[in-house]
Structures are given as C-alpha cells and as structure tokens.
C-alpha cells in the first residue's frame, strides 16, 4: 500500500513537472516501474533506450550542441517575514539583491520579494528582497497602527510556501505588502482605529444624553405626582387665616389647593332645672334688692 502511494506520488511529480517544464526529464532518478509508466505517457526519456528523433545533420548538430539536461527551474521560496539572513540562506540558489525600505517592521525583516514566492525561476536568477530598515518601529510602537482585518488573509498568503499547494497561491508584490509589524500579522486588531474610537465615543455620548433625558422626564413626572399629594415643606407661618362670614378660611393648604373654613352654628339650647332631693320645685331666688 505504501509502495503504491509512493509510486503514485512519484508519477504525479514527474507528470506535473513535465507539464510545468514542457520538456522530458531524465528518468534515471525514478524506479523502473515508474519509469515504465511515465514512458508510456511519453513524459520520460530514457537516455539509453529512448529512440532519438530522426534529424538532419544540421538538426543533429544543433541537437548535439544542446545540453543533454536543461537547467532546472526552481520554486522561489517565500521569505517574506523572515530575517534577511534567513532569507538569503533560503535563496542560496538565487542571486539576492537587497533593497532597504523604511518600515515599522524590525530591522532586517523581509517585507517583499520579486519574483513572487512559488514562482518557477532558473537557479542563479536575481531575487529582489525588500528589507525593512526599522526606522519607523519606534513611532509604530508609540502609536501602533492597527492591523486590518485582512491581515489574516495576508498572513496566510505570505506564509512560507513549503508545498505545491501553498506555492500555487498568489503572493502580493512588493508594493502590495502591508507595512505592518510581523507580530501583528494574522492577529485580530486589539486597538480601535481612530474612526472606530470616534464612533464609539459618539455612541457613548448619545447614550448618556438619552439616559439623562429619560431620567429628567421621570423625575419631572415624579415631582408632579408628589406635588399633588404632599404638603409643602414649609407652610407659611405668618399668614393669618382669612375670615369669611362666620367661618374662617384655611390658607396653609392653599399650595396644594385645599382650603378649609369652619363655622359654628347654634341650633338649640334647653335648660332643665333639677329638683333638689325632697323638694318639688327648683329653688329660684329672685332678688328684690333694688338700689336707688
């Protein structure tokens, strides 16, 4: 099973490489079974057994001038985000050209590369690396630039291409690489942008204002309700009740619009003369003292 998988993988590699390079590759490095399979597909050329195409002298001479094995193209590795020394090591098969650029990234960090990662290129070709000089790192640390939400996508696209699948993804060019600190890549922004802070602050202010208006309305309603039923805190003591007819008018309740007036209305008076014990009538002594 394992052999079958490795066989299929090798075959796929050969076919893919052939399709990519558009030329036959020597099959010396593959197993005989794979070589046979690929040969049937016509992608592999055996140096010894493969029939040479018929050609004229001119063509034969031209064929003899060509090298038997054309220089292989290599995938340009993704070195964005690495240090320059690390990137230079990874690009040992290429000629590296360094360009300094002002950035908030740490000094020596590769900001971009040309050609883009995962590009097939001949060994020895020039790869231009845009390297940060770290001149804006201090300013960035004091006023950090929030990483955009797309940083996560950018980070995934700028990750080192270690396989063919990731190598097939597009890599932004030099001018497209966002100048953000490497530690900010792929992270959700923790600080708010100035616009977001402005919107947030405006929302807080509007909330406070609406809350204050709501509370003021409730207080006014409560004060109105209390004023209808509660007596005044300090009723005027100096005011004398106004006399109306036989009664009097009470002023203390005037603040809550309640007035009282009381009057005394005699109805009937009777007298009962109580007899003393043993007497039949009440003793009424009428004085006859008349003085001149």
């Amino acid at each position: 099973m394992r052999d079958r998988i490795s066989w299929l993988l090798s075959a796929a590699l050969l076919l893919g490489a052939t399709a990519a390079t558009a030329q036959s590759l020597p099959c010396t490095s593959v197993s005989p079974e794979v070589r046979e399979y690929v040969r049937k597909r016509g992608a592999c050329r055996d140096v010894k057994t493969a029939p040479r195409p018929r050609a004229s002298k001119q063509s034969r001479s031209s064929v003899s001038d060509r090298p038997t094995s054309a220089p292989q193209k290599l995938f340009v590795p993704d070195v964005i985000g690495r240090s320059y020394a690390n990137a230079a090591g990874a690009l040992a098969n290429f000629k590296v050209e360094r360009i300094e650029a002002a950035s908030a990234a740490p000094s020596g960090e590769v900001l971009g590369q040309d050609p883009a990662p995962a590009t097939l290129d001949h060994p020895g070709s020039t790869v231009i690396l845009q390297v940060s000089d770290g001149s804006l790192a201090t300013a960035a640390s004091m006023n950090p630039v929030p990483a955009p939400v797309t940083a996560a996508v950018a980070s995934s696209t700028t990750a080192p291409a270690t396989d063919l699948a990731s190598a097939s993804t597009a890599v932004p060019m030099l001018s497209q690489e966002p100048a953000v600190p490497s530690e900010a890549r792929g992270q959700f922004p923790t600080a708010l942008s100035p616009n977001a802070a402005l919107i947030f602050g405006t929302g807080v202010l509007l909330g406070l204002l609406s809350g204050a208006l709501l509370m003021r309305g409730r207080l006014l309603r409560r004060q109105r309700a209390v004023g209808e039923y509660a007596p005044p805190p300090t009723p005027p003591q100096h005011q004398q009740p106004a006399v109306a007819d036989t009664g009097r008018v009470s002023e203390p309740g005037a603040s809550f619009q309640i007035r009282f007036a009381a009057r005394f209305v005699p109805v009937e008076t009777t007298i009962v003369l109580a007899p003393f014990p043993g007497d039949d009538e009440v003793s009424i002594d009428e004085s006859s003292d008349r003085h001149a």
Binding site: G247, S250, F264, P266, F276, I284, E286, S287
Partner: protein
C-alpha cells in the same frame, strides 16, 4: 366681662379625629371619597386647626340662652329692658343646660367645593348654682357655683369626640356701673 367664664380645658379635635369624621362622611358622599386620600395627614391637621377655632366659643354664650328660659330670669330681663335702674339679681340653683350646635367645615379641593362636613356639638353643662344679673335687657353672670361640662362631637350617630371639663368664673360686682358699650355679653331678645 363674659370672657371671665371659661372652660378649664378647651374643646379641641385632632387630625386623626377629623380623618375619622371625613371617613364617615365619605361613606355617603362619593365626592369626598374620591379625594379622601388628599384630605389625610397634613390636610386633616389643617382642618382640625380650623375646627378648633370654630369650637373656641364663649361658653357663656352657649349657656345664656338656657338661663334666659328660666321664668325668673326671663321676667327680670324684661323688666330691665323697660326700666332703667339697678340690675336685678337672680340665683338659679342646680340645673342642667343642654346646648346643641353644628360645627360646619367647608372644604374646597382645587377650587371645587366639597359637601360640607357637619359635626353636631352637644354641650351638657351641670351647674350647681349660678347667680345672674338682669340689666338693660340682658343678663350677666355674677357668680357661678361648681359646674362641669360634657361635650360630644358627633357626625350622624358616630361619636367623634367626647370631652369633659369644668367651668370657672371670676365673681364680679353686679352693681358696678359699667360704661355702656355695644359689647354686651349676652343679649336676649325678649318679646314685649
């Protein structure tokens, strides 16, 4: 003169008693029932203050109409009105005088008048003896023996306040010539 006759303890009502009276009134008066809550507390205290002012009547004015009904007093007053001369003294031994009156409390809430609260005041005075003088068609109290007063304040048949106290009077000289003044203590209308 007459202000020398006074109750030992004046008749007064409290705010709670006014609230009780208003509650009894609200049973028959829906208008009062609607504003009963507003009439409680401080408002009831104000109403009680007004009622106490109305209740501070001169007790002599309450008792004089009763004394005037005594035949001897009645005759003496008639005579004094016809002839100008020294006063006639009349001594009335033990007797009871019952006086009924209405104490009316008019209330308005927000300029809207409520049905008046009518409290019936019944004063029963038990007097051991009283010496009266008749002069110029009126009577005056010269001396008063031991006397007590029982006052009841009712609304309908419900007793709101019952108050018992005594009466004190400073004896005075009935023959002392008084300057003629319009403030006669008790004028009794006697048909001639």
């Amino acid at each position: 003169m007459h202000n020398q006759v006074k109750l030992h303890v004046p008749i007064e009502v409290t705010g709670d008693e006014v609230e009780r009276a208003l509650f009894e009134q609200s049973k028959d008066e829906p208008t009062v029932a609607r504003v009963l809550e507003q009439l409680r507390g401080a408002a009831a205290e104000s109403a009680a203050k007004e009622l106490n002012r109305a209740l501070a009547v001169d007790i002599f004015d309450v008792l004089a109409p009763g004394w005037a009904q005594v035949p001897a007093v009645h005759r003496a007053v008639q005579l004094s009105a016809l002839t100008r001369g020294p006063p006639t003294l009349v001594n009335v031994d033990r007797h009871n005088i019952t006086s009924t009156a209405l104490v009316v409390l008019d209330t308005s809430v927000k300029e809207s008048a409520l049905p008046p609260l009518e409290l019936a005041l019944e004063i029963v005075a038990d007097v051991q003896s009283a010496t009266l003088s008749a002069r110029d068609g009126g009577i005056d109290l010269v001396a008063l023996g031991e006397a007590s007063v029982l006052a009841r304040l009712k609304i309908k048949s419900v007793l709101v306040k019952e108050h018992a106290t005594g009466i004190s009077c400073v004896p005075r000289d009935p023959f002392k010539v008084r300057p003629s003044s319009p403030e006669r203590p008790a004028s009794v209308d006697i048909p001639i």
